[in-house]
Amino acid sequence: MARRYDSSTTTFSPEGRLHQVEYAIEAINNAGTCVGILAKDGIVMASEKRVTSGLLAPSKAGSTSFLIHGSESRTSSEKTYKLCQHAACNVAGLTADANILIDQARLKAGRYEYQYCEEIPIEQLVEHVCNYKQAYTQYGGLRPFGVAFLFAGYDQHNGFQLYQSDPSGNYSGWKATVIGANNQAGKSLLKNEYGSSSAEEKEGEMKVEGVAEEIAMPDINEALRLAVKVLNKTMDATATSPEKMELFCMTLKDGACVHKIMSKEETQKVIDEVEAESSAAGDS
């Protein structure tokens, strides 16, 4: 019955749904997982790399934006894209679609700076991309973009911010969230573990149900460990290795944003720390 209302993006079904948009959202649930976590001194975005072949050459196009601070080598990125000096995004979904939207975001950020000589507030950047996506759900008869984003950025008004957006053009701000494959499992883990810092501290306390607890924001290192923990849960493979994940973090140094993709060694270090934590807590 819904079939009749499937094909046109710009027609409501009798139940009041836009099927094409929903199918686009479904497409993302098959994509590589991305986790985003807001820390008090920065943002972490971790993603699952679905690189299937050892023959794939490291992308040269992605390599220019992420210079490892102080060193000559460049890291290439598959999932993380720099939008401007103070914003970056993670992609889940059709990469080709994402490229168009990333161009839009970079243009918007650039034009804003041209006009105001100031960095664009992150929410405005996100809203612009989302408005662009929304147009494809209302006019033109073209299919929606099969992309979900995690936007991470910093501005002087609201500090560090994390946003998630989907093909419908909806967006929301998060302290921590997951998109892509197995995102429900990831989100439930975050719900339990985000905000409760080291388990040791809370041992003696009783958790009172129903009372709003103070969420203690993690610092960048805790956030990195939590992100790896989430990826461990959402990824199919039992053993996680640095090749399969990409860790990105954004911090502030001397008033300017630093975008960093962790190297293989640094990623391995975080994985080891998570491993040590879980075995110490007695998890199998």
Binding site: Y114, Q115, Y116, C117, E118, P121, E123, Q124, Q156, H157
Partner: protein, 201 residues
């Protein structure tokens, strides 16, 4: 013929201008307010033909209001406002220029800092500690050069402004009996004094 000038002090900025509205041999009014309030914490003194003065200052202030409405009350810093204003002058320059010269002052409530900008009708812009547009510059800049220093308070800044006004009233050919003085600080835009009440229309 308009006198527009400004002085920055520690924690704020003063913008002052004469209140004459005249053309050719006629004085239309002597209580015009040429210091347009742009937003809660910024104002610009504008000189030029009355049409451009009013049109341009309203165009900028309405666009700034639109920005705040469109972005959940987010405000543009004085730096961004000045660059936006300059951009509008630049775009119009090779189409139909606005013949306005401006002193733009504002207080950044996030960085807690005041700033003053000099903009002219050719879309040049400079961030300054003090400045003047038009003939007033010939009379006032030397006074400001001598008396301005870092860390002035509002009283001292107003004293410099009043010295400039007195100089103009004594030495400038065109009679400008009334001046309006506004201060912008953390509490917003405040009219300190005027020669004639602009509301008295």
């Amino acid at each position: 013929m308009d006198s527009v000038f400004g002085v920055e002090y520690d924690g704020g900025v003063i913008i002052a201008s004469d209140q004459n509205n005249a053309r050719s041999i006629l004085t239309y009014q002597t209580n015009l307010d040429k210091v347009a309030e742009l937003s809660s914490h910024s104002a610009m003194g504008v000189s030029g033909p009355n049409a451009d003065l009013v049109n341009f200052s309203q165009y900028i202030s309405k666009n700034l209001a639109l920005y705040e409405l469109s972005n959940n009350g987010l405000k543009l810093s004085p730096h961004a406002q000045a660059n936006f204003t300059r951009g509008e002058l630049a775009t119009a320059l090779r189409k139909g220029p606005y013949q306005v010269n401006i002193m733009l002052g504002g207080y950044d409530t996030i960085k807690n800092q005041a700033s003053l900008y000099w903009l002219d009708h050719l879309a040049a812009m400079a961030k300054v500690n003090y400045g003047a547009q038009g003939y007033a510059s010939s009379f006032c800049l030397s006074i400001m050069d001598r008396d301005w220093k870092e860390g002035l308070n509002q009283e001292q800044a107003v004293a410099i402004v009043e010295k400039c006004i007195k100089e103009l009233q004594v030495r400038f050919l065109i009679a400008q009996p009334n001046f309006i003085i506004k201060a912008i600080d953390k509490d917003g835009v405040n009219t300190l004094s005027f020669g004639a009440d602009p509301a008295d229309n």
